[in-house]
Structure formats: C-alpha cells, structure tokens
C-alpha cells in the first residue's frame, strides 16, 4: 500500500467536510481508483468526486494517471480566482 495525502478545496472541502486526509491506497492506483475509494467513503460527495479537478504533486492530473507513493493529491472545482 502507498500512503498519500488528499487535500480538498472550496466546494470539495465543503462537501467532504475535511481540509485534507491521509490514506493508504494500493500500489499502482490511478486517479479513477482513488475517486472510487473516496466516493465509497463519502457517499454524499460521490457526484462531486466524479467531476472534480485533481492534481498530483501540484500538477493537474487525469483519471488514467498513476498516483505515486507519498503523493500530495488535491481535489477542487474549476478555478475562479482573479
């Protein structure tokens, strides 16, 4: 298993109810696998998790991307800064 950190921002933080968590995921997990794990853990946020933006180690990431050990993953809605 790989230990990773998952951070939540903006509406994702509101829906998950946490700023961040650490969790263990199987080696070779991809973003889509992590989304499934989180959707099971936070069923009320499942829909939001399905469409969230994701970053791995501060770069945008996509469903097929592998999550390396120790990764800092983040989930957040489309950005609205400025």
């Amino acid at each position: 298993m790989n230990e990773i950190t998952v951070l939540f921002f903006a509406t994702m933080r509101d829906r998950i109810g946490e700023r961040g968590i650490t969790l263990e995921v199987p080696e070779e997990s991809r973003v889509r696998d992590l989304k499934r794990i989180l959707a099971e853990r936070y069923p009320g946020a499942a829909e939001a998790i399905g469409i969230t933006l994701v970053s791995i180690n501060r770069e945008y990431a996509f469903d097929e991307d592998l999550i390396p050990a120790g990764a800092e993953v983040a989930m957040f809605p489309q950005v609205s800064g400025g």
């Binding site: 903006a10 933006l53 770069e59 945008y60 983040a74 809605p77 950005v79 609205s80 800064g81 400025g82």
Partner: protein, 154 residues
C-alpha cells in the same frame, strides 16, 4: 544576459502597485502594463445577489504559485520582449473596491506586447491557477463557479 525579474505570490497583504512595479523595472524598461481585478460591490451577475458584502478568497498556495510561474513562462514564450512579470493574488476576506489580483508586465516599449501579455496573464490565471472565491451578501453565500477545465500538460 540580464536575469529578468519574475514575481509570483499568494498573499494576505494589500497589493502595493508602486512597489510591485518598481520590483519589475529594469534600467531598460520604458513601458509597464498593470492589470488589477477588484471586488465589485454591485455585480448584477447572473444568479448572484446584486450586492456583495465581501468576497472570501482561498488558494491552494504552493500549486497556485507553481502555476503562476507557468503563466509567466508562457508569457515569456509568446512575448519575448517582456522584461519583468509580477503575478500576485490576494486571498482572505476582501471588500468592494479592493484590488484582489495583479498582473504586471514591463518591456522597453509599449508597442511590443505589454498590453497583450498582461491580458493573457489574467486570462490564464483565471483558467489554471487554483484559487477560488465565495461571494457573501446579505442573502447568503455563493461560490463563484469557474468555467475552464485544464487539459493534460496544463
């Protein structure tokens, strides 16, 4: 070769245009375009309350600063005459009439892209830099929705 100054930061402090401009001014600089966004107290935006009490900004700061750096690199790739670049986003609770974000570009002359570069900078910041804002009015709170979905490599 001169190292051109690049400033990028997420800050809770007031934006100081004078200081930021000075920090990106070289002896060869003749023109600067400074864009700022400000909190609108009277919005009239669709689906949002007509009066804003304040906006609450948050950022994923380390990624935001990395993406600001990327925006600066993109600007330099497109407008090689640009010398200094500053990209700064203020976060926290910001009231109407307050500057919230600044994109400034300097160059030797005004006619080699300094306006377009600043414009590109704010457009890209609003696409890929992880910052969000919530609009708070007497009627309640509404997260402002972004519109852009980054693609692989962004």
């Amino acid at each position: 070769m001169t190292e051109f100054p690049t400033i990028y930061s997420i800050t809770e402090d007031e934006l100081d245009l004078n200081s930021l401009l000075a920090q990106i001014t070289l002896p060869s600089t003749g023109a600067a375009c400074v864009f700022t966004g400000l909190v609108r107290g009277e919005t009239g935006r669709d689906g949002l309350p007509p009066r804003t009490e304040y906006l609450e900004y948050e950022a994923y700061a380390p990624m935001a600063e990395a993406k600001m750096r990327q925006v600066a690199d993109e600007i330099r790739g497109r407008w090689p005459t640009v010398e200094g670049i500053a990209i700064v986003q203020r976060v926290g609770r910001l009231y109407p009439r307050t500057p919230t974000v600044l994109i400034a570009c300097t160059a030797p002359h005004r006619d080699t892209g300094v306006f377009d570069a600043a414009r590109y900078g704010i457009d890209r910041l609003k696409e890929i830099v992880p910052i969000w804002k919530k609009e708070v009015s007497p009627e309640g709170e509404v997260w402002v929705e972004g519109e852009y979905t980054p693609t692989p490599g962004e």
